[in-house]
């Protein structure tokens, strides 16, 4: 992106059945800032990832630079400019 480096956010393909969820590159220094940037461009996606209080949904898994997000309610995990953020579903049966 124009010579600058910003985090990349990659969503599970499972979401495509319901809502557009393309891979995006957006600026932000914390997980919350990055996700806010994603959802400001794509508001329909917010409710699939976050609950009413803005926390990660219990069965949504988020990895920041290979580590599971530590702060699932405040979304304060630091995000580096080269980081990849993966948003996908925790396993469940049925």
């Amino acid at each position: 992106m124009k010579g600058t480096t910003v985090p990349t956010v990659i969503f599970t393909r499972q979401l495509e059945r319901f809502v557009a969820a393309p891979t995006v590159e957006v600026a932000g220094a914390t997980l919350g800032e990055v996700l806010d940037a994603v959802f400001s461009e794509n508001p329909a996606l917010r409710g699939y990832v976050l609950d009413d209080q803005g926390a990660l949904r219990p069965h949504v898994a988020v990895f920041v630079d290979g580590r599971p997000a530590a702060d699932r309610t405040g979304l304060t995990d630091a995000v580096g400019p080269d980081d990849e953020i993966y948003v996908f579903q925790a396993l469940s049966g049925g």
Partner: protein, 361 residues
Amino acid sequence: MSDRLYVGTRKGLFEITRRPGVWDIADVHFLGDPVTAVLARRNVVHAALDLGHFGAKLWRRDGTEAWREIAVPAFPPKPEDAGDDPHPWTLGKIWNLTPGGADGRLWAGTMPGGLFRSDDLGESWSLIETLWRMPERRKWFGVAGGEQPGISTVLVDPRDSADIRVGVSCAGVWASTDSGATWRNINKGMDNEYMPPEQRGDPMTQDIHQLAHCTASPDVVWCQHHSAVYRSEDAGENWRQLKAARPSAFGFAVAAHPHDPKTAWFVPADKDERRVPVDGKVVVSRTRDGGESFQVLSRGLPQRHAYDLVHRHALAVDDSGERLAFGSTSGGLWISEDGGESWTGLDARLPPVAAVRFAVT
């Protein structure tokens, strides 16, 4: 008389239509996704999904247009001083959708016990804050294997759309005569046998599985309670236990005849620990005399080793009172065109059924 039926299941929404004498699946929507509530009125269909990982969603279809995702009811930010609230301020699932009488109005009863209103057919929703912020609401308790209470029924008086009753599992019946501005716990005369003795008669501990009223005489309300079957003649203020209910008093679903205040249908089950049909026979129990006596209707229903359970919203009657349908946790679906005297099973093995609704024109 309705010729169209919507069946919400664990794995999709099934649209079932009647061609001369035969009901069959005409279309399948949301295949693979859990559907928790459905409403079909005047060519508009609403379907509530519970996507598990990705939360509760609401979709709407107008006529033959494509389905469109619309707003979902949402709880406001949880205040700092609500830290000891036992219930989450986050939508669990939409448990029922009810027409509100007024133009464009819908009510959504949800887990964890929030009641929401829309005045634009679901494009936007507002939480009924007076009910949610009531201190007593924190005493409501959970059902269905979950920790969350749920609003299982919303009754809107056809004579006055501001007059509503909600049935809560578990917290009794709550009434508002001002569109939800103020609330009162009603339901005297019920007894919840699984509670400690001193709390059994407390109106607020009553486990209201489902309520149904007679459209033509809306003061007549029927209740399938956890412990018994009840009838009220004063819009839910006072209840009389119907001790003649058979083959058992346990069940989840009730349907009220739209015109005859003395007729209602139930789908009983062996209470409470087993929750399967009594003796492995699927039956519908009907009263036509206000609950003095009940007929056990079984013609066309499985009578040998059948373990179908019918949940709260999975029994429906159409606006004629002649056509009924119910679906089971084993994926059975049966339809009657003669007020329940005889039933025909759909030739299909559906996913577990959560909600059955006739389309209303």
